[in-house]
Amino acid sequence: MKNKALTPEPTYATEAEIEAAIRTLSKPDLYRLSCYAQFRAGALAALGLGISGPDLLQETLKRTLAGKRRWPKAVSFVDYLIWTMKSISNAEVKKVHGAGFTFIDGPRDVREAPEEDCEGCWQLPSRTPEPERIVAARQELERLKGLFSDDERVLLVIDGLAEGMTGPDIQKCLELSQTDYETIMKRLRRGARRKD
């Protein structure tokens, strides 16, 4: 019988280490966290969950400081916060869409805590879409598509992403080179964040 290699137990950051990590985050790191939180919160808002990007980021850190989530020091602090924001928001999406909705997992160490309820933290969405929400979601999709009405390829990428396709699948399906796909995604990222 072969001996299994022992995986070293991950070491988790203390509160002081978390605070020190916040103080040393770079400008791009902080900007990335802000943008990521904004998109994730926007996705939750599409389902009627009334939270902002800062709310989501704050909730992620609060859970970490409370010990409900732990930051394994082998993972960068930014990656940890991003994975945890993703995990928390996915848990909310599951509540709306049901357990049949699956997601790609993050690093095992980061996601070892069960996805907990947000009840008491946020206004929970109704499972039944409300008319205002449907109209708002439709308008936002139309706004996005309107920004790229002159570029059929971007519109097709939007449709692919909205159907849950991965980047490589979209590239293959639309026969896009890596450079073309990255250019389209860049336009899309900027367009989605521009609100005027």
Binding site: K27, R32, A46, P54, A66
Partner: protein, 148 residues
């Protein structure tokens, strides 16, 4: 034709995908996005840092308030415990001797800092020390303990 649920879900999935795109672009691309959108990266970054530090501060503050509350509760509890000094000075001295014997560290502090010699303490010193020990909760603890 898309159902209402489809519309919400499509937007949510699209924005999730874009958030993942944000997570994977390089710092240079991210800053180029900011420049193209005329965003003030310095301000946004600093606001984000302050948001996170504010969260740490809130957690620390809550812990401090919890400790203060526990301390206040403990003081209130001690104040409610009846405190009756023995009537006679000799009995008080005996009581103090018994307590200090059970708490050697307390004895060390009381006799080193205030009175070098237990025997040299006045009756008023004994009474004051007993009162202080009551307020520290030592008398209540001593009553709960089994004699050595």
């Amino acid at each position: 034709m898309a159902t209402p649920v489809d519309t919400e879900r499509k937007l949510q999935v699209l924005l999730d995908s874009l958030s993942e795109a944000i997570a994977s672009v390089t710092d240079a691309e991210l800053l180029a996005d900011a420049k193209a959108m005329e965003e003030d990266v310095d301000r946004i970054s600093e606001n984000t840092r302050q948001l996170l530090l504010g969260c740490v501060y809130q957690v620390k503050r809550a812990r401090l308030e919890e400790a203060e509350h526990a301390h206040r509760h403990s003081v209130q509890r001690l104040a409610k415990i009846p405190f009756a000094l023995p009537a006679l000075p000799d009995a008080r001295r005996k009581e103090l001797g018994r307590i200090l014997h059970r708490h050697p560290k307390m004895q060390e502090a009381a006799l080193t800092l205030q009175h070098r010699n237990f025997e040299a303490m006045t009756d008023a010193d004994v009474e004051r020390l007993l009162s202080q020990l009551h307020h520290l909760g030592v008398l209540a603890e001593s009553e709960d303990e089994e004699p050595e």
